[in-house]
């Protein structure tokens, strides 16, 4: 991966046909041919990159590029959105997110999109230099969180937010501040527990070394007592405070009558400590304080590692969720005195548009939805005509025409032109809000699984207790003290230190590696839920397919293609954009030149009918089949065939004759076939549940060539949920989806996987989400999970073998504390090495 920036130098060279790919001066990606400006010194792949580049150069911040090159990570184009942040100045926003300092300055925290490396940290923290009035800016890279302190006298928060946006890091107010605060407290407490346990363990170990020395060389009774009492006192904080969370876990496990790892741990710690304390008072017999404290310390470290890795996924989900628009463009003053609507012409001065938080929208409010915006409410279109992409809500791959009087739903995307919508339902009352409630219901209904290690620990407790009583019985004839001594020795040596660390470490390491390979997994149980093959259920639009229209088929007279390109370039329609990018790739340089010649042609657009133009004296129409009269035989047959394959036919007529037939479709993802094959090989069966038309679904399934056991179209989100809940009773179900309509099913499945680019709702509902496009992550997840659980099993076997050796020695009565003290760290070491050396989720 190269981040080498090679600015394109124009001028004397052949600017129009560069022999080498032109790279963006900011991000280093290839600049699309259409965006090259030959007279400019620097070329940019997008507007965002251009903005950032200029901001950096004007402010002498070009060192950014050095840091980024040194870091070596790949970057995408800058995300500068150019949005307005005016609503950040509203009193409501300040009340929610801004904190006041005693000296009159203000504090706020934002989640930033697009921060990923050292250079980003440097740049964001240079904000005080860019925006006078910003006093401090600290970025937390792991949480994507920036903490800002500023002087409200000098600068408004909206101006700061705009400056951050221009740097390519659109800011969003954090959503779950309270939970983050709680997490932070718990993290700190766990760290302090580790510190206390570690300090106790270290010091007890030093004293133990002296005592072991005395074991071989002899030691004055006076000093032996000193060391024994010393280690007893030092063990107290570790056992009484640091280890308390294990006792709590064991208590809950007992009360719920469910096996849990904390139970054998608690038994081990408490018997070891109890017997050690008794022997200290007695002044004779073994004390096990060194083993007990080391055990507590290592187990706490294991917990901490797993916690850290799990947190990463939930944080990433939080950022994605915060990115969902939380504001709407409210129109004020658009109704006259008597309540009737005034005109909404572009030049109309009657109304103002104000960006407001979504919560501030009331029923009946008028909102403006610009092209490309997400519709914020369920409502009626009162002005404008456009197309709405409902893929996330319904799974339909084709955008639908809406005009005044039509109903639009929150969560759909307005594609082509501005709409004015009257809010009829907001927030939780919208269709999307109701679907999200289903998600929570489904999540609460999902049966928890007993983790492998916990299941083992159940047997383990019984086995250890049986062995201990056997020891007690068989040594009883030698006197009760000796019998108890041997039984306690057995309980301590079999205390499942390695067993307790085996899972957290292996799972933590696996989650870390999964994150590096593009999979964010929210919990360790996901790995275990994927052990047995079951059914993989796919959504269609945006999951199996790319989720966008692509030119797939051209029939007829290709001489007219440049005409099509020239006309379509003037439209912002979805189909037009698909045709333009498809044709730009397909046409020869001569044809492209021909299209350029026709740049002056004016095309008229009639919504729902198509594009009309006059080219070289011919009447040209590009449009759908419904709008065409008397089709030629080949064209009507072709259109029918295209429709059968799930494609949208587009007709080009010249002077009333059909000359070209273009087929647009939502193509299969390039890695879909291979992934489906691999899943079948692993023993999974495949199913599709789609909201799209059954014919389209069927055509796509045929195209994959994979043995789907079931492929249903026209399925509502509620039905998806029902199907999944029904199947999950019999076998593990992996649901793969991207939309709001999949969210409930994702949360009901054994494991829900949200693919890259999905709706925020699906990311929230899913257990796993991919940060790389395509379906390969699904296979990688299943494969990696199996390998990781293999590591867990291997660890468990290791620790059991150690325990078996220890137990045998204890039963035979030859175990002394030194052997116990050696066996325990040795087993832990094996487990740690085995966890971090494993190759699951290899990139």
């Amino acid at each position: 991966m190269t981040t080498d920036v090679r600015p394109f130098v124009g001028g004397a060279s052949e600017a129009a046909c560069p022999t080498e790919a032109v790279l963006c001066a900011h991000c280093g990606l290839v600049v699309p041919a259409g965006l090259i400006e030959s007279e400019q010194e620097h070329q940019f792949c997008c507007h965002g990159c251009r903005t950032v580049y200029h901001v950096l150069h004007q402010n002498g911040l070009t060192a950014y590029y050095d840091y980024r090159r040194a870091d070596g990570t790949s970057v995408g184009p800058a995300l500068a959105s150019g949005r307005s942040y005016a609503h950040f100045d509203e009193a409501k926003f300040h009340e929610l997110y801004v904190r006041h300092e005693p000296d009159g300055t203000l504090n706020v925290r934002f989640l930033l999109e697009g921060v990923h490396c050292a250079a980003c940290v440097w740049l964001v923290e240079k904000l005080p230099r860019l925006v006078p009035g910003v006093l401090e800016s600290r970025l937390d890279l792991g949480k994507n969180l920036v903490a800002l302190r500023w002087d409200p006298e000098q600068v408004a928060l909206s101006a700061i937010a705009e400056a951050i946006d221009r740097l390519g890091y659109p800011p969003h107010p954090p959503q779950a501040d309270q939970r983050a605060e709680l997490d932070k407290k718990e993290d700190r407490k766990l760290l302090i527990r580790i510190a206390v346990a570690g300090a106790c363990a270290g010091n007890v170990m030093l004293m133990a070394a002296a005592l072991y020395g005395g074991l071989f060389q002899g030691m004055a009774a006076e000093y032996e007592a000193l060391f024994r009492w010393g280690s007893f006192l030092l063990t107290l904080p570790a056992v009484l405070w640091a280890a308390a969370l294990f006792y709590k876990g064991a208590f809950y496990a007992l009360r719920a009558r469910a096996p849990h790892m904390d139970l054998p741990i608690t038994i081990g710690i408490l018997t070891g400590f109890g017997w050690g304390a008794y022997n200290t008072l007695r002044g004779t017999g073994e004390i096990y304080f060194d083993s007990v404290t080391a055990l507590i310390f290592l187990l706490l470290v294991g917990r901490w590692v797993q916690r850290r890795h799990q947190r990463r996924a939930s944080r990433a989900a939080e950022l994605l969720y915060a990115m969902a628009p939380a504001s709407a463009r409210l129109i004020e003053g658009a109704t006259s005195e008597d309540g009737s609507l005034l005109a909404f012409g572009a030049a109309s001065q009657h109304y103002r548009v104000r960006e407001v938080p979504l919560e501030a929208l009331e029923l009946g409010a008028l909102v403006e939805v610009r092209a490309g915006d997400r519709v914020p409410v369920d409502g009626l279109v009162v002005d404008g005509a456009s197309e709405v992409d409902r893929a996330w809500l319904t799974g339909e791959s084709r955008p639908e025409l809406v005009e005044a009087g039509a109903v639009v739903h929150a969560g759909t995307v307005n594609v082509s032109s501005r709409l004015i919508v009257r809010a009829e339902r907001t927030g939780h009352a919208t269709r999307m809000g109701q679907l999200m409630e289903r998600v929570e219901e489904a999540q609460s209904r999902r049966a928890p699984i007993v983790l492998l290690a916990d299941r083992w620990s159940g047997f383990f407790v019984i086995a250890v207790l049986v062995l201990a009583s056997l020891t007690l019985l068989s040594w009883w004839s030698h006197g009760p003290t000796q019998a108890i001594e041997h039984a306690v020795a057995l309980l301590i040596v079999t205390c499942p230190c390695a067993l307790g660390m085996a899972t957290p470490l292996a799972v933590g390491a696996a989650l870390g590696r999964a994150a590096q390979s593009g999979l964010l997994i929210k919990g360790g149980d996901v790995l275990e839920r994927l052990q047995k093959p079951g059914r993989v259920v796919f959504d269609k639009t945006g999951t199996l397919t790319l989720g966008k229209l692509v030119l797939e088929d051209v029939r007829g007279d290709e001489r007219y293609l440049p005409w099509v390109l020239a006309m379509e370039r003037q439209s912002a329609h979805v189909i037009a954009r698909a045709l333009v990018s498809g044709l730009e790739e397909r046409l020869s340089p001569e044809q492209l030149a021909e299209a350029k010649r026709l740049d002056g042609v004016r095309a008229r657009e009639r919504l729902g009918a198509g594009l009309f133009a006059e080219i070289d004296g011919h009447d040209v129409r590009i449009g759908n089949v419904q709008g065409a009269r008397c089709l030629a035989e080949w064209a009507s047959q072709g259109a029918e065939e295209l429709a059968r394959h799930g494609r949208t036919p587009v007709l080009v007529t010249v002077d009333g004759e059909v000359e070209l037939l273009l087929g647009l479709g939502d193509p299969l993802r390039p890695d879909a076939r291979e992934t489906l094959q691999r899943l079948t090989d692993l023993g999974y069966d495949l199913a599709v549940l789609s909201g799209d038309h059954p014919a389209t679904v069927e055509a796509l399934v045929r195209q994959t060539g994979a043995p789907f056991v079931l492929a249903l179209g026209g399925v509502t989100p509620e039905q998806k949920l029902e199907y999944v809940e029904q199947w999950v009773k019999e076998r593990p179900v992996v649901m793969v989806g991207d939309g709001v309509n999949d969210a409930a099913a994702l949360s009901a499945a054994s494991v829900g996987v949200a693919v890259h680019g999905g709706a925020e709702a699906s990311l929230q509902a899913a257990d796993v989400f991919a940060t790389r496009p395509g379906l390969t992550p699904v296979w990688r997840l299943i494969d990696g999970s199996r390998k990781s659980l293999g590591v867990v099993r291997r660890n468990l076997v290791f620790s059991l073998v150690y325990n078996l050796v220890g137990a045998t020695l204890a039963l035979a009565g030859v175990l002394n504390p030194l052997i116990a003290a050696l066996l325990m760290p040795l087993s832990s070491l094996t487990v740690v090495t085995s966890s971090f050396r494993s190759r699951s989720f290899k990139t």
């Binding site: 840091y67 040194a70 937390d140 949480k143 206390v196």
Partner: protein, 47 residues
Amino acid sequence: MSVLYLLIPLAILFGALFVVAFIWATRKGQFDDLETPPVRILFDDDK
């Protein structure tokens, strides 16, 4: 060897001071972010 009665408590007191310092630092939020500081150290101040 009776100096041990002085030295061991002294050593433990010393160790306890470090634990207290660590607890103080944790409460101050020094260990909340473990990813950015190792990156921040790379920057020259006057660039």
